[in-house]
């Protein structure tokens, strides 16, 4: 069975688990533990291994959705999951202390996925915090990684239609990357 692995990353509390729940056709396999770090994110639980969901295309094909833990102490999971992924949705919560710093940090960790697949950035909670703006995110990406043109969307991770928009744009970018390397791909 072919598999297409999409990785969801971003700081703690950005909405990765929720985003996968919005997309997955199966009940999401979660690895939550009681959160003892309520200062960083005021939520009762946190992901400590990965979240797993999927979309079945047919008998032979699935899109597998993996959510990585957001805290750096779990970066060994980032290494494991990154190797399998063809694309990544990077979620950043706009009401965090420094969302642009988080964006830069995670692009630094997972930037290789842009070269071999695609990255989409989703800005959550922009209704609670209107700045930074999407232009600010685009400028930050251009400054940190000028070779990258990455879609940046405002996202409500609870909304399936918005998550589908993000996923479809990611897949488009993944296929564009593949086609630019091998034009025969698009035939």
């Amino acid at each position: 069975m072919a598999e297409h692995v999409i990785l969801f990353t971003g700081p703690m509390g950005a909405g990765k688990t929720t985003a996968i729940q919005s997309l997955s056709e199966i009940e999401v396999v979660a690895t939550e533990a009681v959160n003892s770090d309520r200062i960083t994110a005021d939520k009762p639980t946190t992901t400590v291994a990965f979240d797993y969901g999927e979309i079945t295309l047919d008998d032979d094909d699935k899109v597998r959705l993996y959510g990585a833990p957001g805290q750096r102490r779990f970066d060994f999971m980032w290494t494991i999951l990154r190797e399998r992924a063809v694309g990544m949705v990077l979620l950043v919560n706009n009401d965090a202390a420094d969302p642009l710093a988080s964006l830069t940090e995670f692009l630094g960790e997972f930037g290789d996925l842009h070269a071999r697949g695609g990255i989409v950035v989703g800005v959550t909670r922009s209704d609670l915090a209107p700045v930074p703006t999407l232009d600010d995110y685009a400028a930050c990406i251009a400054a940190a990684r000028p070779e990258m043109m990455i879609p940046v969307f405002t996202l409500d991770a609870r909304e399936p239609s918005q998550m589908r928009t993000a996923l479809m744009s990611l897949i488009l970018n993944v296929e564009s990357t593949a086609a630019s390397r091998d034009p025969a791909f698009a035939q």
Partner: protein
């Protein structure tokens, strides 16, 4: 200064009010001109059989009381009133309003009937400065596919249409809208022609299959 005062004649600065010759064409040009101006401008757009739209260039926002209804595609008339106001003037609607990108996207798609917007060259090539915020904008999958074509490469409208199989007029409308939103780089046509565009996602590829699976 409130909305009612904007409708009156006694305003600071210049006021224009005239019948639009081609309803959305002139609206698009007025919006483009407004966004090119350094001064803060208010624009009131009166549409037949629809509520008026109020635009504030400094807030980069608009208000439309009947926002639940789509803008009419072919209104009989559209009347425009633009006013230059002091930078710290009280806005004509309660902030934050709606993102102006929504209005620019919609008007940009409706205007010019498949022709290039007047501020664009007919043979220009384009590349994105940033992606449009598709989660906020009513869009089609084809518009997303067209947008992806100019994510990292310069393409002309003809090249975009050829790579995606989408009608040229639709590709031009998208370029008009993205340009009005201010998120395009443009460059003159390349003498002697450009490299062949990279074809869009294949019919059997993941995008097409996921699109069918999700019913998009």
């Amino acid at each position: 200064m409130g909305v009612a005062e904007l409708a009156d004649a006694a305003l600071l600065g210049r006021v224009d009010a005239r019948e639009a010759q081609s309803p959305w064409d002139d609206t698009a040009q007025a919006l483009h001109a407004m966004l090119c101006e350094p001064e803060r401008t208010w624009l009131k757009i009166d549409i037949d059989d629809a509520a008026s739209v109020f635009v504030d260039s400094r807030l980069r926002a608009f208000e439309r009381p009947d926002a639940a209804q789509p803008l009419p595609e072919a209104p009989r008339t559209v009347r425009l009133q633009s006013t230059i106001v002091p930078f710290d003037a009280h806005p004509p609607f309660a902030p934050p309003g709606e993102s102006l990108d929504i209005l620019l996207w919609t008007v940009g798609l409706l205007a010019f009937d498949g022709r290039p917007a007047p501020w664009l060259g007919a043979a220009d090539r384009y590349r994105l400065r940033r992606w449009p915020n598709f989660t906020l904008l009513a869009h089609s999958i084809d518009q997303m596919r067209l947008t992806a074509q100019i994510g990292s490469r310069l393409h002309s409208v003809d090249e975009m249409a050829a790579a995606t199989g989408v009608e040229r007029a639709a590709a031009q409308a998208l370029i008009n809208a993205l340009s009005l939103m201010g998120i395009l780089h443009s460059a003159p046509a390349v003498a002697g022609g450009a490299a062949a565009p990279v074809a869009s996602s294949p019919a059997t590829g993941l995008f097409a299959r996921l699109r069918r699976r999700l019913g998009l």
